[in-house]
């Protein structure tokens, strides 16, 4: 199990772009967020993972200076998000709120125009931006007629106004169909290649685990772990197992061979399930190799990030 106070693997040689220091938000006795500390480096893709209500959106709103922390502070580019100077920093941040809502009476182009003016950025290439998120054909349709997925795409386009160097995307694929999700991650990869820093949240771990440099797991307002996927995996030391497919007659021989390594062996419908600790993986492989003639096939199963998440969150 990971420690409850995460050892932040600070790769930060340059100053972190986002510095969260002991950020807490208490509503009476309810701790929506409790003592969260983390750094996000420039150019990093950072995933924030947790169940609904775990505190992800609270942290996001706090990072945008929308709600004041009860304790602690947050700096972006060295500027406190609660201070007056943060207004200028906001120009360079793209923010997609959870369940983004626009004005039904405007069309997509008018919506982008309005937000570009508020943001003080160029709005000459809004049509290209809508093409990019797949709304080119719907650019002049009223938002009233938009589906949930289309609204989400427009929300993403809005976040991209002014080519921000830092993006906060709260549940960005919420409401998108599989095509939409693929297109979204395509654009995200382009942004990453261009050097943007991206912070995104999700409660679907499998979706983002291959797409982030580091991730933080948040549960009940507390940060449970921070780090790269591989580091979190080895730190958590979750079990792995082999599903061995063999004839019933060959099972005793395989069992006997496995007695030399520290494993737990169960009978399974198609053969045997062999559970072992991570450090015995290669030893088990060697034994299975020596029994190759008795085996039809085998699969190595490892705990996924999902298992890790539920393990750490509970």
């Amino acid at each position: 199990m990971a420690k409850s106070t995460p050892a932040v693997a600070d790769r930060a040689a340059p100053r972190a772009l986002v510095e969260v220091r002991d950020a807490s938000k208490h509503y009476g006795a309810v701790h929506a967020l409790d003592g969260v500390t983390l750094d996000i480096a420039p150019g990093e893709v950072f995933g924030l993972i947790g169940h609904n209500g775990a505190g992800k959106s609270t942290l996001f709103k706090m990072m945008m200076g929308l709600i004041a922390p009860s304790r602690g502070e947050i700096l972006i580019d060295g500027v406190a998000v609660t201070g007056d100077d943060f207004r200028e920093v906001r120009r360079r941040i793209g923010y997609l709120p959870e369940n983004v809502v626009f004005y039904d009476n405007l069309n997509a182009l008018e919506t982008l125009h309005f937000f570009a003016k508020l943001k003080g950025v160029s709005h000459s290439d809004n049509r290209a931006l809508l093409e990019r998120v797949g709304l080119g054909a719907a650019a002049t349709r009223r938002i009233r007629e938009y589906s949930k997925g289309m609204r989400q795409r427009l929300g993403f386009a809005q976040a991209l106004l002014g080519e921000p160097r830092l993006l906060f995307l709260d549940e960005p694929t919420n409401g998108l169909d599989p095509d939409g999700i693929r297109e979204f991650y395509g654009i995200l990869a382009e942004l990453r290649a261009a050097g943007a820093t991206i912070v995104l949240t999700s409660h679907i771990l499998a979706e983002i685990q291959q797409r982030v440099d580091r991730l933080a797991i948040i549960a009940a307002g507390k940060l449970r772990a921070v780090g790269a996927l591989s580091a979190l995996r080895s730190e958590a030391d979750l079990p792995l197992w082999f599903d061995v497919d063999c004839e019933a007659a060959a099972r005793p021989a395989v069992r006997a061979a496995l007695a030399s390594v520290t494993v737990t062996v169960h009978d399974a419908p198609a053969g045997l399930r062999v559970e072992c600790a991570r450090q015995h993986k290669l030893a088990v492989l060697a034994v299975l190799g020596s029994q190759a003639a008795a085996l039809r096939d085998f699969h190595v199963r490892e705990a996924s990030l999902e298992d890790l998440f539920f393990g750490l969150s509970s």
């Binding site: 923010y95 709120p97 983004v100 009476n105 937000f115 003016k117 943001k119 003080g120």
Partner: protein
């Protein structure tokens, strides 16, 4: 904080959206038409109860319009502004707005100015059209009185819009905001004068005098009434209130200033409440 570093472009962007929303939804047109139709009906048929049909005089028309506008404009202004902020909050669009490089004060001011422009535009267009229709009946003094009536109608609207926008900041949801707006209308338009009269009657008339007139300044609707009635010598006699009103308070500039204060104060209170 924000007041000193107000960015006009941000305020103008918000105000422009509010204004054009009302233009596009035909709100401005509809309200202007309501004003025009009511004013013309009053001008030509206002004397029907006395068996008179047709235009009588500008002074009587204005006097009748004042009694109508005093109900109508506060109601329209409250309906226009009661969900300015709470509506954004409830719809879920407030966070996105506030994540922009805009201060809360700029957002509030932009909302108010945009709605104020829409309301003022409908008022001036609606009653202005009436002035054009009645042009042949208007002499210089009639025109001046009608001009004052239009200007004070705009100010009355701004005062109640300020109350409405502050309701939209203080209320936690739209339902409460609408209830609060209706309560304000009842209080200022229906109850206030009754309460004052009740106090006078209970006091046996001994409590009257100067301070009573000053109490009328606490209600923008009364300020509007006094402003218009006091300026009309011909009908002033019809209104008991206007005759007890002290001369130094009947100064139109002073009364306009009071109405302006009524459009600034609730908004300032709202800005203070909304700052975080």
């Amino acid at each position: 904080m924000s007041v000193l570093q107000l960015q006009r472009r941000q305020v103008a962007t918000i105000a422009g959206k509010e204004f054009w929303d009302r233009i596009r939804s035909l709100w401005v047109l509809a309200i202007a038409l309501v004003f025009t139709v009511f004013a013309l009906v009053i001008a030509y048929f206002g004397g029907a109860q006395q068996g008179l049909v047709g235009f009588r005089s500008m002074e009587f028309t204005i006097a009748s319009l004042v009694s109508l506008v005093i109900y109508l404009i506060p109601l329209i202004a409250l309906v226009l502004g009661f969900d300015a902020i709470v509506g954004e909050r409830e719809r879920g669009s407030l966070d996105l707005l506030l994540s922009m490089p805009i201060t809360r004060f700029e957002l509030l001011l932009g909302k108010y100015l945009g709605l104020a422009a829409a309301l003022a535009f409908s008022t001036v267009a609606g009653f202005g059209l009436v002035a054009v229709v009645l042009a042949s009946h208007l002499n210089l003094s009639g025109l001046a009185h009608y001009g004052l009536f239009m200007a004070s109608s705009v100010l009355l609207g701004l005062a109640f819009l300020s109350l409405a926008v502050s309701v939209s900041v203080f209320a936690s949801d739209r339902t409460r905001a609408s209830g609060l707006a209706i309560a304000l209308w009842f209080f200022f338009v229906l109850m206030f004068d009754l309460i004052l009269l009740g106090v006078l009657v209970v006091g046996g008339g001994n409590t009257g005098g100067e301070w009573f007139a000053y109490l009328l300044l606490l209600n923008p609707a009364d300020v509007f009434r006094v402003l218009n009635i006091a300026s009309l010598d011909e009908v002033g006699a019809l209104y008991g209130l206007a005759t007890v009103f002290p001369r130094e308070l009947a100064n139109p500039w002073l009364l306009c200033a009071v109405l302006l204060a009524w459009s600034v104060l609730p908004l300032s209170l709202a800005a203070w409440r909304f700052r975080r």
